[in-house]
């Protein structure tokens, strides 16, 4: 779906440019519209549904951006992550959960490892009991909850997923008031979820 812009690594790449590099080789650049403009190229398309949606999602997350929290484990901030496009440690996915989820939705069209029909392939994630013996000294063995248990957080995550799908739908139909209402609910839910994760550690 969305490829990241090779310049800023944060926007979706919309423009594909062929450039001649210093060795005379051809380089294919995938850029976002902003960076393509800065590159002296015309933006390819008028604002798309995705762009509008993204704007809404961005607005939704500005509220939680009031202070730039650091990951308690590695000290990275979300701004640092955005600048480089790389996380500092495994904990960052939880530390910035409210912003990670929309990011993953944007990149992968999903924010959960496997959908309901994919249970068989869950073998792709190792069984933690099998790895316990060889674990790194400092490493707590990764704990995967049994699939049957549905916690409140899981339910909230489900609801969040549903709301986001709904948001895409209403943005497509240009029902912006409804979109704004959904955005507020998503935002509130994301906050709850993020808080929940902090409390749970």
């Amino acid at each position: 779906m969305t490829e990241f812009c090779q310049r800023c690594q944060t926007e979706a790449a919309k423009v594909h440019v062929t450039e001649i590099d210093k060795d005379g080789g051809k380089v294919l650049l995938h850029l976002c519209e902003g960076c393509a403009k800065g590159h002296g190229l015309p933006a390819s398309t008028p604002p798309t549904v995705l762009a509008v949606f993204k704007e809404l999602v961005d607005k939704a997350s500005t509220v939680s951006r009031t202070r730039d929290r650091q990951c308690p484990e590695c000290g990275i901030t979300f701004a640092e992550f955005k600048a480089k496009g790389r996380f500092g440690c495994a904990h960052d996915y939880d530390a910035f959960l409210a912003r990670v989820v929309p990011l993953l939705e944007r990149v992968h069209g999903a924010s959960e490892h496997l959908g309901p029909g994919d249970a068989v392939a869950a073998a792709a994630v190792p069984d933690p009991s099998a790895t316990a013996s060889g674990a790194a000294p400092a490493a707590p063995a990764p704990v995967l909850p049994p699939p049957a248990r549905k916690s409140a957080a899981d339910q909230a995550a489900q609801e969040l997923k549903r709301l986001r799908r709904e948001l895409v739908r209403v943005v497509k139909s240009e029902a912006y008031e409804e979109a704004a209402r959904l955005r507020d609910r998503i935002q509130a839910l994301e906050k709850d979820l993020a808080k929940g994760f902090e409390v749970d550690g």
């Binding site: 779906m1 969305t2 490829e3 990241f4 090779q6 594909h16 590099d21 005379g24 080789g25 051809k26 380089v27 294919l28 995938h30 590695c74 000290g75 990275i76 480089k84 790389r86 996380f87 500092g88 440690c89 495994a90 996915y93 939880d94 990670v100 990011l103 993953l104 990149v107 992968h108 069209g109 999903a110 924010s111 959960e112 490892h113 496997l114 959908g115 994919d118 068989v120 392939a121 073998a123 792709a124 994630v125 190792p126 933690p128 099998a130 790895t131 316990a132 060889g134 674990a135 790194a136 000294p137 400092a138 490493a139 707590p140 063995a141 990764p142 704990v143 995967l144 909850p145 995550a157």
Partner: protein
């Protein structure tokens, strides 16, 4: 015959073996590479890995990887123990990534079996990058081989995983499965007809990326392109593989259609281009690696269309690898500056092509 990896470096016999010379679409589908990104639980990712911890990751993994009985010819090599030429040879044979070879610093290593075309990179963008490389269209078997390797490493190493997001990676574009399937295609007709831009657009719509000869962030030369999945999260590895493989026949047919059209309507132009490329390779006295790849691409098309019957495809594939900078120096038996390299390259190509008459 337990050859050391250095014997492998020193020999050019199998340099191009990872490219296809048979199978249904070997004229277009050159090679398939599949990789998995993994991190070790309890260590920061590369962006926050200080020198001491990077060494700790490397020795932690070295100890465990060396225990695996992967293949008789397996080897664990620290990049610090290799000359820059040897590192480049591994890169030119697609055994290690450009990032591991050139961009990244600190303690890096590769554990590999060249017979099985398996390699595990240590301290790449993620602590571990597992990859398998195979000629042409055999992705299911390759994926199985890779998942088996993943399970065996996973039994020794605690991977960083998350109940919701699956395998955690440095870059969120790899999270979940950590899987990237890249199929290298040779699409000269689509490039000549300028329809390649449409391929980029179509691939984008199908959530696939199109990249250069050596993958992410590399130039595209010689009409070789890598088509790979963008999405790594929310789908099983089998479904991700199916997403890529279902597109391949379409791209293959597309390239074939254009080849047919060009051959029918622009016969002279096509023949001129192929024979001209062959003529230059056969007689030039100085040649850069980019020029060599561009010309070999035209010659490769000529071979696939039956216009150059005296040339085996295996030789063209081999020359594509052997005309790259580190291999030219390996063949010369010493380090060469740019200009001497261009002279040596032209000499070697002339000699090899003359042998076929």
């Amino acid at each position: 015959m337990a050859e050391s990896p250095r014997d492998w470096f020193a020999s050019t016999d199998s340099a191009g073996d990872w490219m296809a010379v048979d199978g249904p679409d070997h004229d277009i589908v050159v090679t398939t590479r599949i990789r998995l990104a993994r991190n070790v639980a309890g260590f920061p990712f590369r962006a926050r890995l200080d020198a001491a911890k990077a060494r700790a990751v490397e020795s932690h993994l070295a100890e465990r990887l060396k225990k695996l009985e992967l293949a008789a010819d397996q080897a664990y090599l620290r990049l610090a123990d290799l000359s820059s030429l040897e590192t480049e040879l591994l890169f030119e044979r697609h055994c290690i990534s450009k990032d591991l070879a050139r961009e990244l610093d600190g303690p890096r290593a590769v554990f590999f079996s060249r017979r099985k075309n398996l390699s595990v990179m240590v301290n790449e963008e993620d602590h571990l990058r597992l990859q398998v490389l195979g000629p042409g269209r055999s992705p299911e078997a390759l994926l199985e081989q890779l998942c088996d390797l993943d399970a065996r490493i996973g039994a020794q190493v605690a991977y960083a995983t998350h109940p919701r997001f699956g395998h955690l990676t440095s870059c969120p574009t790899n999270v979940g499965t950590g899987l990237r399937i890249s199929v290298m295609l040779h699409l000269p007709a689509l490039v000549w007809s300028k329809e390649i831009e449409k391929v980029f657009d179509a691939a984008g719509k199908m959530k696939l990326a199109v990249r250069g000869y050596h993958g992410e962030g590399t130039s595209y030369v010689g009409d070789f392109f890598q088509v790979s999945n963008q999405v790594t999260l929310g789908k099983s590895v089998d479904r991700l593989l199916a997403d890529v493989t279902k597109v391949l026949p379409k791209l293959v047919d597309w390239e074939r259609d254009v080849r047919r059209g060009v051959r029918k309507e622009k016969t002279r132009t096509l023949e001129d281009r192929i024979w001209r490329a062959y003529g230059v390779l056969r007689h030039a006295r100085r040649m850069t690696s980019t020029e060599a790849i561009e010309l070999l691409s035209s010659v490769r098309l000529g071979v696939c269309l039956g216009l150059l019957p005296q040339l085996p495809l295996r030789l063209v594939n081999e020359l594509l690898v052997l005309s790259q900078p580190a291999h030219v120096q390996l063949l010369a038996g010493r380090e060469l500056d740019d200009d001497s390299r261009d002279l040596a390259r032209a000499d070697y190509l002339r000699k090899r092509l003359a042998e076929t008459g």
